[in-house]
């Protein structure tokens, strides 16, 4: 059986190999700091396997994360000059290869699709071929490897250094944004164990009017939205808002339809995810990947949609759930 952890080791190894390249890159004025950041990230990926199954302490990993934060936040990381092709060379190559170039890029989703849909039905030596529940993640990894081999054969690229180099300059241009989503997930956990959720619940109950269903719907929906903006995802907001308003007021007092109230409540949280930099993997990482000058560009594009949809949710819940 292919395990998800093996794939995390591969990602960790990739980070570490790139870190070695970075340390040797004389065009990067801060090469040692940069190499330390990505090297620690890679080592953390591997070490995490034992943290997850509780056979190693989490504290050293936590300390490494704090070191990474300091390296990135206090300007010890930088980027080298990318040795890459010029626009003219790219245009010439595009003319030469034509739409064949899409083939490897489309291989990634195609393999992911096969792994998610077909492979779970196969068995290998009495067990599933891919670890259960991780099929799509593993599919992405297998797809990336197949695509890489295909691209190298197709483009007659003999050296593995070329794709590594290309990947490295993309990583260097993203910089600290890479670590942010994982760090925010951590913050969510810390908020939860420190009782931030409970406090917000108490606050919400204090401002909650007990007379009209419509106001309670608005409090639940807007509360989910705002709480998600603060926490970065609806998963942390949902139990708190549902315990404070959703269940006791909307479902028990007002006899709302439970699936409707809860499903739409969660979707109000998703509207919040569209507008918060705390949801870095959806909003900040794409901005870095697309090399936008304004890191809030995607959020600005999503804000009107999010607000209108929040309104839609309030209307749908008021109209159909009671």
């Amino acid at each position: 059986m292919i395990k998800a952890e093996w794939f995390y080791w591969l990602v960790g190894a990739l980070f570490m190999v790139l870190a070695v390249q970075m340390a040797a890159d004389r065009t990067n004025p801060k090469r040692y700091g940069t190499a330390a950041f990505w090297g620690l990230l890679g080592a953390g990926f591997v070490y995490s396997s034992w943290v997850v199954d509780k056979s190693a302490p989490a504290e050293p990993l936590g300390a490494a994360v704090l070191v990474m934060i300091c390296l990135a936040a206090f300007g010890f990381t930088g980027r080298g000059k990318a040795r890459t092709t010029t626009t003219e060379e790219r245009r010439a190559s595009a003319r030469k290869h034509g739409s064949k170039l899409f083939l490897p890029a489309l291989t990634i989703p195609a393999v992911a699709l096969v792994c998610a849909v077909l492979v779970p039905k196969l068995s290998f030596g009495g067990g599933p071929l891919l670890q259960k529940g991780s099929e799509t993640i593993l599919g992405l990894g297998i797809g990336a490897i197949v695509a890489l081999v295909l691209a190298m054969v197709m483009l007659r690229e003999k050296s593995v250094a070329a794709p590594l180099h290309a990947g490295r300059s993309m990583l260097e241009s993203m910089g600290w944004a890479m670590l942010l989503p994982q760090l925010l997930a951590t913050l969510g956990t810390i908020f939860a164990v420190s009782g931030v959720g409970k406090q917000v619940g108490i606050l919400t109950e204090a401002v909650l009017p007990h007379d009209s269903v419509i106001t309670a719907v608005v409090v639940y929906c807007v509360g989910m939205f705002l709480f998600t903006v603060i926490m970065g995802n609806g998963f942390a907001a949902f139990p708190v808002m549902t315990a404070a308003v959703g269940w006791p007021v909307l479902i028990e007092q007002a006899h709302g339809n439970a699936p409707a109230v809860l499903a739409i409540g969660m979707l109000c949280g998703f509207c919040g995810t569209l507008v918060t930099p705390m949801a870095a993997n959806f909003n900040v990482v794409p901005a870095a990947l697309l090399e936008l000058k304004d890191q809030y560009g995607p959020i600005k594009a999503q804000l009107p949609t999010a607000v209108v949809l929040l309104g839609c949710n309030i209307v749908i819940m008021s109209a159909f759930a009671f």
Binding site: F45, E59, A73, Q182, T186, T242, L262, V285, G297
Partner: protein
């Protein structure tokens, strides 16, 4: 009440545009201490959080192949391809992308598309290419706007598509929480059905905004060109 100070740190930090890593790190440490965790527990929380959230970072595995293809002209070819379909404007292309993204997410295939796999190498250059065919070289501001909207189509499609699928994390979270806390019995199917009205609204609202982008682009870019031409004429 005092643990909410951590939330305040986050809001102020992001509003004043400090380095987000530093903001989140400080907020985490502060909240942990205010919430009565020992320094050792805070460190362990950072470690556990990192280890259990690695899945959000694995898209890097696609970067080497995407980078290699880009060096050989993938983005240029995406632009070439789109310019053969003269009816496919930027807005229409992005709406099509939104529909596909939402449709596949509703079938449970959320990792098929994504910022690293499809937005950067394919969708964004195609959306730009469609605009370039009409208006020539784009100003940086327009380029940023088109890219931001491509990212937005990806997110909106994903968020409001995936909840229509039964086995997605958020649906299972709802049933898990409600069934264990309130001793009720909710089925994932009931919840997924109630996600459909909002999914349709999302498609209409965001699709409408994407289609309207064509008009905005025309106004901005043709307007700018007229201005430029009158300036030239005045000389």
């Amino acid at each position: 009440m005092i643990v909410l100070l951590g939330v305040l740190v986050v809001i102020i930090g992001f509003a004043t545009r400090r380095n987000p890593l530093l903001v989140v790190g400080v907020a985490g440490i502060a909240t942990g201490f205010l919430g009565g965790l020992s320094p050792q527990k805070v460190l362990a929380a950072f470690g556990d959080g990192f280890a259990s959230s690695r899945a959000v970072t694995i898209f890097v595995i696609t970067l080497p192949v995407i980078g290699l293809l880009e060096r050989h002209g993938l983005q240029e070819q995406a632009r070439n391809l789109i310019s053969r379909f003269s009816k496919l404007t930027t807005g229409r292309f992005l709406t099509l992308y939104l529909v596909l993204r939402q449709g596949f997410a509703a079938l449970g295939l959320r990792d098929l598309f994504g910022p690293a796999q499809t937005v950067r190498p394919l969708a964004a250059p195609m959306a730009e290419g469609a605009a370039e065919r009409r208006y020539g070289t784009l100003p940086d501001k327009t380029r940023e706007k088109i890219r931001s909207f491509t990212a937005s189509a990806d997110n909106v499609g994903l968020f409001f598509g995936e909840d229509v699928f039964l086995a997605v994390g958020s649906i299972l979270l709802i049933t898990g929480f409600a069934n264990s806390t309130y001793h009720t019995h909710l089925e994932p199917l009931q919840l997924a059905l109630w996600a459909i009205p909002t999914a349709l609204c999302a498609l209409a609202v965001h699709g409408g905004r994407l289609l309207r982008m064509d008009r905005t682009l025309e106004r901005e870019l043709l307007g700018a060109r007229v201005e430029l031409a009158t300036e030239e004429a005045a000389k």
